[in-house]
Structure formats: C-alpha cells, structure tokens
Amino acid sequence: MENLIALLIAAPLLGAAVLLCGGRRLDAVGHWIGTVLAAASFVVGVVLFADMLGKDPENRAMHQFLFSWIPVGGFQADVAFQLDQLSMTFVLLITGVGSLIHVYSIGYMEHDERRRRFFGYLNLFLAAMLLLVLADNYLLLYVGWEGVGLASYLLIGFWQHKPSAATAAKKAFLVNRVGDVGLSIAIMLMFTTFGTFAFGPVLEATGEATEGKLTAIALMLLLAACGKSAQVPLQSWLGDAMEGPTPVSALIHAATMVTAGVYLIVRSADIFNAAPDAQLVTTVVGAVTLLFGAIVGCAKDDIKKALAGSTMSQIGYMVLAAGLGPIGYVFAIMHLVTHGFFKAGLFLGAGSVMHGMNDEVDMRKYGGLRKYMPITFITFGLGYLAIIGFPGLSGFFSKDKIIEAAFAKGGTEGWILGGVALLGAAITAFYMTRVMLMTFFGEERWRNQPSASPAEPDVEPAAEHHGAQGEPHPHESPKVMTVPMIVLAVGSVFAGAFFSIGDRFIHWLEPVTGHAHGNPPIGAAAVTASTVAVMVLGVGLAWLQYGRRPVPVVAPRGSLLTRAARRDLYQDDFNHVVLVRGGEHLTRSLVYVDHTLVDGVVNGTAAGMGGLSGRLRRIQNGYARSYAVSMFGGAAILIAATLLMRAV
C-alpha cells in the first residue's frame, strides 16, 4: 500500500510534464488531462485514507523510500515519503479542493487561449504541494517548498501581458525568497546540530540539543512560514497576488499553499515545544497578522483583495494556534481544513460574480446581485456564515476552539491573545458582512455604470468574450463552475461539526501532533458565548454602515485608519522606504567601494605585477656569462642556506 504514495505525486507531475511539453496539439484536451490526473491523485489519496482508517491509530504512518538522492559521507539526503495522519489531511485537502478547482477552471478559463498551459501549471503546483507535505525530510520538503513557490510565481503572473500581474508575480517571488532563506538556514542548523534533517531523527533528538539552538531553528522555520503564509512582516505579497486568475487565488492563495507555513510549524512541533521563546514569537506573529489582515480587509473595495486580507487574518489564527503548542496544533490544522473549504468557496464565488460582471472587481459597482446569481449567492452566503463563525457551521467550531485555546494559554499572555482573537472575530464578522452586503444586497449600483473593462487598458483575456461595452448583464455561471462551489459550500457547512462531534479530529491527529486539553480561565461556555456575541456585534455594525445606508459608488475619503488600511497599513511604503531605498543606497555604496577600493587593489596588483615582470625580465639579458653568474650566486646561496639550516 505504501508504494502508492509516490503515485500521489506522480499523477499531477506527469500531467504537468505532458501539458507543458506537449505543445499546441494538446490544446483541445489539455484541461481534461489535467483535471483527470488531479482527480486520479485524489482517488489514490482516498484509497490510502481508507487503508489508513483500517489501521491502529498509533501505527498509521507509512513510509516509502524511492532512492538515495545525495549520499555524501555523513550527508544523506533521500527521496523518501512519509504519510501519516497530518500528511493525509493535507493530501485530501490538496487533491480534493484541487480537483474541484480544476473542474471550475475548465469553465472559468474557457476563453483563454493559454488554458492548456494554465492546467499544466496547476498540475505542477499540485505535484509540488504534495511533495511538500509528503516528504520525510526537510531537504525534500524544501524542494516542494520551492516548487510551490515557482508554481505560485507562474500562476500569479499568468497574464504576464499585464504589467501589474508581472510585477505582482515578481514581488511574491522575492518576498518568498526571504522566507526561503530562513528555511535553508534552519535546515543547515539542523544538520550541524543533529547531523541529519530527516523528520524522524531530528524530532526525536530535540532533547539532546540546547534550547538556544532549538530556538534559532524554530525562529528560522517561523521566518519561512511567515514568507509562505503571508504573515507579518512578510505579508505584503498576498494582496498583489490576487492579480492571478481567480481559481489560482482560491487554490493557492487561500486554501493550500499559503497554509504551508502552518504545516511546517505543526510538523516541527517537537522543536517548537522545546523552544518556548520561539513559540511566544509565533503567537505574537499570528495575533498581529490576524488583526492586520482583518483591518486591511475592512477597507478594500476590490472583492478579491478584501478576501485576501481575510485569508491573511485567518492564517494568523492558525499560526497563533500553532504557537500555543499542544493545546493548539490540532485546532490550527482543523481551522486550516475548514478554512480551505469556505475560503476556496468564497473565492470561487467571487470569481463567479466577476464572471457575470465583466470582470469588475470593485464591490462599489456591485449590489443586489442575489436575484441574478442565486446559486452563487447561496454558496457564497454559506461560506460567509462559516467564516464569521455562525453557530453550527464549520468556522464556528474551528475558530471558537482557537479562541478558547488562546485564553487557555494562561496568564497575561492568555488574556491578551484571547482578547485579540476575539477582537479579530468581531472584525471578521464586520468585513465579511460588508462584502456580502455590498455585493448581493442594496441598490443595483452597476446600472448606468460603464463597465470597468473599457476604462482599463489591460483587459484580462477571459473578459474579451463578454463584449465588454456598456453596463454589465449579471448572469449565473455555467454548471461546471457552480457544481464545485456547491460541493465546497457543503463542506463549509458540515465539515466543522463532523470534525468536532466526539472530538473526531483530535483523535485523528493526536498520534502525530500530540494534544493537551486547554481550560480557558473563564470557562469554555463563556468563550463560546462571547465569540457569538462579538460576531453579532460585528455583523450589526456592518449592517448599520452598509445595509441601512446606501453605499456610495465612489469611495468616500474615510477616516485616517480607513485610508491607512486601503494602503495595506502602509506596508509597501514601509518596505519601499526602508528596504528598497536602503538597499539602493547599500548597493550604490558597495558599487562605489567595488570600483574604487576592490578594483583599485586588483588593478593595482595587476599593474604592480606587470611592472615587476618588466623589471625582472631585464635580468634575462641574453648573455651566457650573466646566466652563469646567476647560477653561481644561486648555488652559493643554496649551499649557504643548507649550512645555515644545520647551524640553526
């Protein structure tokens, strides 16, 4: 059975190879090849899952050794896989949601002439992501890590003819590199500390290393997680990444890839458990990001960017939970899975709305769409209820557990983290209600509005078939798009309850991550009650502002905070002033030093050598007599030196 593990990766990898190398003759069937191979991977995943369920919970992990990759003395890197409950969870999420989004993309990308390539990239992403979660050592994980980075870059910049997309892709790639450096340093530190970087030996040996080293490794891993999961301070790329096609935003920049950081932290649980300082930093990063993303999400008028802010914020919750240690790991992953359902559903819904609205993304030019797109409205609405934590839906269970665990951390920290998490829940309710109201309720503000498309010179190719003139004609999307949305909506509604009843998810993951029950100081019931209360508060405030009053088509100037949030809390300005300018200054001074000092020394040496050579050359005057004198002198020195050596 364990021999099937490689097949999980092989199927999408084959798809990527065939689609990217196959050329134009595959244009007609390329999307089907990609979708079938993604689905095949999902089927293999389900088979393995069924097999795993039949086993004793403690012995569910499977290993497959493929080949020895870099065997050099003490440095042994293998291509080997490990499939345990944690990996299994990810495999099902990645291949399941991935397959649905493949199906959705068939419709969404129908009119894009580079659709085959798009599916090739999607398959490449699936293969890399599966490699990331299936690797049994950090080095192979790093390969997958870089692979998803590459796929993400290619897909964000898929419409590379748009300068904004090309720039966004570059930005995502560069910011991710910062995190990647963290991961590579962490791997090097592991190797010097433990002499290996395979999961098993490293995690078992954490007791032997000093806390300082473990803290260093954990912080480097956290840096990596920050890059991939868009956590403060490496969060700036995620908003721009929305330049990619919407299915990409749903799959990569909401449901799967951006959660890789959470996977990394939970996978390295033993290291983090032994490094409390690093755990504290992790919780702080998570808490800051969940507020940061939520605030940004409140101010964005672009529906995808609002959702991107939300993604950042929700991953903040997961990182916070992962930083809490054994009381949080399970809930971090549980929220990750439920989030995978509802956020993918929300993005697909947003894509469906854009599809019907001539690719307009400004929510101020939406309104009252529920009549025109009933299926999109219902599925989006269910996702909305799930994310704000409406009792009984997925997000309620997973988010509530994280807030409980944050309080249960204890002490002042517990109160602060719990408070932040609660505040975040309120803001989540606020901005999601805002999105909901602005899009599906209120006046039909798109009437008598020229479509966005003619005004923007950089038209997405997918938009061209809409006859992008005049006011839009909202319409429901085709079945190939709505069916995946319905499936995801079902997941958004029931997944949380399914996981929570009888603590199923806890028992499932406990053998891998460990679990400790946390008791919040004010009681679990009180936390749940206040979570619901702040949710209602957030919804109410949003209704007061966007439901009761008409939404202006042109954004008002807004308060200082609103303006700051619209500019992503000045993150890009900060990066530009501090990093870009600073980098430019550093480069210029280094170039100056290089030109004057380094080149000076080099050229000086060369000139000096040339001069010396010219002078020495003159000794070679062509007269045998002076050669003989030189030999005689040399012999005299040789003899004298030999005698001198003895005398000394």
Partner: protein, 549 residues
C-alpha cells in the same frame, strides 16, 4: 665502484690478479634501456650505411619500433610485479627497478614516441627544390648563409641524425630516474644532455638563434654538471661510497665502519651538506628552477620547436625522477636541512616563472616561463616528503608531459613566410581563422592554467593536497597565488585568439601530416581523460610511489 673496491686496490696491488668475476647483469629488468640504447647505436649505423633516400623512413621506423618495444618491456615489467613486490636493485647496484622508475620510464617513452612523431613531420615547411623538409637543418655543419648550406638545401639533404640523437637522449633519461649510485646518475645526465645540446643547434630556420641557444645550453649545462660532479666527489668523501643506499645509511649513522683512506673526511657533515646542495643544484638546473632557470627561455625559443616540446616534457620527467630518488632515498635523514631551502626554491620558482611570463611576447618564451612555474608547482609536491607527495609528482609529470608536447606541436602549425609565427601579436584572431587549432591550443592552455576538467587541475590539486598534508601550507598559498597570476597570461592568449580581430597579414595554419595530428590528438585526449576521470591514474601513481632502497 664501491668503497671496499678502492681499498682493496691499494692493498692488493702486488698480488697476482687471478680472476675478475663477470658482473651480474639482469638483462630482462634493464631491457627498456638496453633496447633504446641498442636502437640508437643501430641508428648510427643506419646513418653510415643506408642510402640517403631511405634513411628518413628507416630511422623513423627504427625509432618508433624501439620506443614502442621499450614501452612494452616497461609494461611487462610492471605487470610482472617489478613495480611493487619484486622491485629491486640491479646491475651490481647501479640501477633501481621499482615503481617510480618504471612509471617515469613509461612516461618518458611515450613522450619519446610523440617526440619522434613531431620530429618526423615533413609537411609544414614548404618543399625546398622539390624535396620535403622537416624542422631540421639540411646540413648542420654548414655555416649559416654560406654556399655549402645552399648546396646542401639544393641537394635535399636532411639531418636524419636527429632520430638516433633522440634515442640516445631517451636512453639517458631512462637511466636517470633509475640511477642508484651517483656515478650512474652523472653518466646518465651526460648521456641525455649531450644529444639535447646537439638537437638544439639543428633548426632549419633562424639557424644562428638555434646555434646560440645550443651553445648557451651547453655552456651552462657543463657549468651545472661541474657542480654536480664536485658535489658527487664531496659526497663520496663523506660516505666513502657513491651507492645511494650506503650514503643513506651513513647519514643515518648506521654504518660505523670508516674507510682508512677517507678517515679525514668521512662523517664530516660539512661535506655532506655542501655535496648534497651541489648535486641538488645540478638537478634543479635540469628542471629549470629559479635561480638556475635562465637558460630555459633562450633555449626553448632557439631550439627547433619539436625539440623544445620533447625536451620540455621528457627532461623534466627524468630530472624530477632523479631529484625525487635523491631526496627520498639518499637524503631523507637530512630532511630538516634541505626542506626549508627547497621551500624557498619552490616559492621563488613558482612566483618568478609566473610573474616574468606576464610580459612575454613570444609564445615559445611564454611557454618556457610557464614551464618554470610548473617546475615550482612540482617542487611543492616533492617537498611533501610523503608517499602522496611521490605519487602526486608522478601524476603531475605524466599529465604535464602530454600537454607540453601537444602545445609545442600546435606552435609548429602556425606559420608565416618566415617559418613559425611565434610572436604573440600574430596569434590575434586565430580562433576566427582556424577555430579547431585555436580550440585545441585553448585546451592545452587551460590545462596549463589548471582549470577543472583538464589534467592540469587534477595534477595541481594532487601536488597541492600532498604539500598541504605534508605541512607545507605556505607553499600551497603561494602556489595558488602563482596559479592565479599564471592564469592571467594563459587566458590572455585565449582572449587574443578568440576575441581579437585577425590581422590582415596574419599567419596561416598549416595542415600537418597524421604524425603531428597524432601527437596533438593524443595530447588532447590524455589531457581530457586525466582531467575528467583521473582516479585510475592517481591510483596507478600511488601504487607506483614506493622507492626501493
């Protein structure tokens, strides 16, 4: 001639000499040398009795067959275990047959075969009066520019004596690294030096320059030989023997017996140190180490280019072999005395060769200085005084000799009206005109510079590694710096060939016969094979790296 023999001559002169035992000669183990020397003598007879028309073919055939047979004999000996388990001292203690000797003899013989190929090249120079000519003077004895010279050219004479001369030189070189006593060493030195002096003098073009080079080489060589001979005398005075093993034992103090006739000098360390320094000096002259290198550029430039290539490769192999044996077998007890001095020699040799080469404008002089720098690199391995040191030097010598012969063979191809166009400015843009020749030469230059995937890198890495492990870290640092300096002028030639505009009146590249092509082809092949997969040959060298004592 051993110490006891001298003694008995003094004391038993009055007694009747009833019998002199015939010396015990192991013909089989000496066969490589005997074959070559025998063929050389046969070559002289060929010169005397074979008609002029067929001499060239007879000589080439004889030389190649003799060298190949000798090489086969070396292989047979090595396969028979004489390089390892059965190694020993033969010919009444005069010659050693062991790993280093056989390895170096094999290398010299291969260099000799390639040398014969380049000597025999007759398609490069335009035919004179309908006769194909080679690089050698029509009649070496005729005065340059005289009527007799013109007559000789018109008659289509060629100097076919170069082949027996080469064989004599090879014969001497075969004995040189195997010599196990100081007199054999000296005789071998002269046997291979004298033919080389002559060979230097017989260039067809630029004859005065060639003769000047030969005279310089001869004078300075004689000067160096005198030092060597004097050093040998002093060593005899110190040890009472010229036998390597005996001297080594006296140095170690294991022989207490004093020869009465030498009672005044034996055991006097001053004699030992001065004598050793002088013998070593003679060998350093042959390898071209600073400050005994001054002859190298002039001789390399003046000698006929095929001779230069052969001499640069084979002499270096033979002389380093002898130096290794002297330092490792005779003088290991003096290690603490000679090591610092050799350090200094190696350092000035590496730096001196590399620095002066920068401003050279003649390709042959450039290669001469390059060979000086390489002598320094090899000395770095010699100084290591470890088994790795020996094997790394063996490997380096093998690799270097093929690169050298190949490089000089390429030099013979680039010609203009005055013969070979050796001035660097004429090589500008060669890569555009003759990409293949330029590419081949670039390979050789990269090997000289020690760029990975060429034999030069593997060799340099081996000697530097041995030197570093032998505790000579400073030498390695200087070696790497010199390599960097040297890389400059090698790469400059490549840049000149490929990235400069060709000159309108530039040289042409002659199409050689298969002989030179073989020499160049083998050079390139060995350079690349030793560069890409050196391990087998490194293993071979390290198996061969044990001296018999």
């Amino acid at each position: 001639m051993s110490a006891s023999a001298v003694h008995s001559l003094w004391t038993t002169a009055a007694e009747p000499i009833d019998k002199i035992g015939a010396p015990d000669i192991e013909y089989g183990q000496l066969s490589p040398t005997l074959i070559v020397i025998g063929a050389a003598i046969l070559g002289v007879l060929v010169e005397a009795f074979v008609p002029r028309r067929t001499r060239y073919h007879a000589q080439v055939f004889l030389s190649v067959v003799a060298l190949a047979a000798a090489f086969a004999a070396v292989i047979a000996l090595a396969a028979g275990g004489y390089a390892t388990t059965k190694s020993g001292i033969v010919a009444m203690g005069a010659v050693a047959v062991d790993g280093p000797a056989l390895f170096l003899q094999g290398t010299i013989l291969l260099a000799g075969i390639l040398g014969v190929f380049t000597f025999a090249e007759r398609r490069l120079d335009p035919a004179a009066h309908g006769n194909r000519v080679d690089s050698f003077a029509a009649q070496a004895a005729s005065v340059p520019g005289s009527d007799s010279e013109k007559a000789a050219v018109k008659a289509g004479f060629t100097t076919t004596e170069v082949f027996p001369l080469l064989l004599f030189a090879v014969g001497g070189m075969l004995i040189f690294p195997a010599a196990n006593d100081l007199l054999t060493l000296f005789i071998a030195l002269e046997v291979f030096s004298l033919p080389l002096y002559l060979l230097c003098a017989v260039a067809r073009r630029k004859r005065l320059m060639s003769q000047e080079a030969a005279v310089k080489y001869f004078l300075l060589g004689a000067f160096a030989s005198a030092f060597t001979l004097f050093g040998i005398a002093l060593l005899y005075g110190y040890a009472g023997s010229v036998r390597y093993g005996t001297i080594a034992r006296v140095v170690d103090g294991t022989v207490g017996e004093v020869t009465p006739a030498l009672a005044g000098t034996m055991g006097n360390d001053a004699l030992l140190l001065i004598g050793a320094a002088m013998v070593v000096m003679g060998l350093l002259f042959k390898v071209g180490a600073v400050p005994f290198h001054m002859w190298t550029p002039d001789v390399y430039q003046g000698a006929p280019t095929p001779v230069t290539g052969f001499m640069a490769a084979a002499t270096k192999v033979a002389a380093f072999g002898a130096l290794l044996r002297l330092l490792y077998v005779v003088l290991p007890g003096l290690r603490w005395d000679w090591r610092p001095v050799m350090w200094a020699v190696a350092i000035v040799t590496m730096l001196g060769g590399a620095i002066v080469a920068i401003t050279q404008t003649d390709i042959k002089r450039l290669l001469a200085y390059s060979s000086i720098a390489h002598a320094g690199f090899i000395l770095a391995g010699v100084i290591a005084t470890t088994p790795d040191g020996v094997s790394s030097v063996l490997f380096y010598l093998g690799a270097y000799s093929f690169v050298t012969i190949g490089a000089f063979a390429v030099v013979t191809l680039v010609r203009d009206a005055g013969g070979e166009a050796t001035h660097l400015s004429k090589w500008a843009g060669l890569g555009r005109r003759s990409p293949l020749v330029a590419a081949v030469f670039a390979v050789f230059l990269l090997a000289f510079a020690g760029i990975p995937l060429t034999s030069g890198f593997a060799g340099k890495f081996a000697v530097f590694k041995a030197a570093a492990e032998g505790g000579a870290g400073a030498i390695v640092v200087v070696g790497v710096i010199s390599s960097a300096i040297a890389a400059f002028f090698y790469i400059r030639v490549i840049v000149l060939m490929f990235f400069s505009e060709p000159r309108p009146e530039g040289p042409t590249v002659a199409v050689p016969s298969p002989l030179t092509m073989t020499a160049i082809g083998v050079g390139v092949a060995v350079t690349l094979v030793l560069g890409v997969a050196p391990q087998y040959f490194l293993d071979l060298a390290s198996q061969a790296g044990v001296f018999v004592r």
